[in-house]
């Protein structure tokens, strides 16, 4: 992989890898950036180990997924502070995309590690066969899992609303 090829791959895949990491760490931007950085540093340092027998995206997703799976979580307790002046605004904003995504992050966080990565890759529109290769499961198993996870997440975001 030359520097130019790396640059193209980085620009193309960074947003997807970043959102995957964001979903994995419940929207913690700093940690997501750190995980992304770790992923692409590994991609560059180990570029010679990519044999080209799969898509480069599959290889990079696998590194990103493993970085996320091996990340030692430093969970901070959620601090809820209620300011009476902002309650009205908050109620108006309840349906805002920012709230929705936070809620979705929280629901995803309740899933098992592997299920988290399955749904995050699916939401990034990674083909199911590629998800199966990345995670080491059969296509059928991924399909079944996805349907269960989607159902659980839909219930979770509806229930939390």
């Amino acid at each position: 992989m030359t520097e130019n090829q790396f640059t193209d791959t980085y620009n193309q895949l960074y947003p997807k890898v970043y959102r995957l990491c964001m979903g994995y760490v419940s929207g913690d931007e700093c940690t997501a950036k750190e995980l992304c950085q770790q992923t692409f540093i590994k991609v560059w340092n180990h570029r010679s180990s990519f044999k080209g027998d799969a898509e480069i995206s599959t290889w990079i997703y696998r590194i990103a997924v493993n970085c996320c799976l091996g990340h030692l979580k430093k969970k901070k307790p959620l601090k809820l502070t209620i300011d009476p002046n902002t309650v009205a605004d908050a109620l108006e904003d309840e349906e805002s995309p920012a709230n929705d995504i936070q809620q979705l992050y929280q629901c995803i966080d309740q899933l098992k590690s592997i299920n988290k990565t399955v749904i995050l890759l699916e939401l990034e529109q990674v083909p199911q066969e590629e998800i199966a290769t990345t995670l080491g499961y059969s296509h059928g198993s991924i399909r079944t899992r996805l349907s269960r996870i989607r159902e659980a997440l839909l219930k979770c975001i509806t229930h939390d609303r």
């Binding site: 520097e3 959102r19 692409f40 030692l72 590690s113 592997i114 990345t134 995670l135």
Partner: protein, 181 residues
């Protein structure tokens, strides 16, 4: 099939890369260089220690030399284990799929548990024993004020190192507990 989850997910604001690709390459090169330097320093130190042990140690055995040797050896052993652990983890990231890697992480952290509960206390204890061997020589060589300073700084720095090690052990054990299969 698109549902509400996809809509919410796609409504996220676009991610702007935190670094330029050339910065990532630069960081990657720095990391590699540091790893190589670390490996070289460790290999040279180990080489010197072994040479010293074979050729010089029997000729001038005293408590100071023994203490110094124990301290350096325990530190080198512990650093080498840490280094090897990290290399193993990175190798796992690069070579395994998600399912294999999760299984590997469980074994890895079980092994780390053994390192934390057996090897680390042993190395720490050996380091302490080595350090204690040196104090009579320090007492004889330095003023009482400086000797007291050495004792206080040794206690403070070792306590801080112990706290850092305990925190890391706790974080890793918590992570091991969280690994779900």
């Amino acid at each position: 099939m698109t549902d509400r989850l996809d809509t919410i997910w796609d409504n996220q604001t676009a991610a702007v890369p935190a670094f330029l690709p050339k910065d990532i390459i630069k960081m990657a090169r720095t990391q590699r260089r540091k790893q190589k330097i670390g490996m070289a320093v460790m290999s040279i130190t180990t080489g010197i220690l072994i040479t010293y042990l074979i050729w010089q140690f029997p000729k001038e055995v005293n408590a100071f030399m023994i203490g110094l040797f124990i301290m350096i050896a325990s530190m080198v052993i512990r650093i080498a284990i840490e280094y090897y652990s990290r290399l193993r983890k990175v190798a796992g990231i690069m070579q395994m799929d998600g399912k294999e890697y999760l299984g590997y992480l469980k074994t890895y952290y079980q092994w780390r548990k053994w390192v934390h509960y057996a090897i680390t206390p042993l190395c720490f204890g050996a380091y302490l024993i080595g350090l204690i061997q040196l104090f009579p020589y320090f007492k004889a060589a330095f003023s009482s004020g400086f000797y007291t300073y050495l004792i206080v700084s040794a206690v403070v720095s070792l306590s801080m190192i112990a706290i850092i090690i305990i925190r890391q052990i706790k974080a890793e054990l918590k992570f091991l507990k969280c690994l779900q299969f």
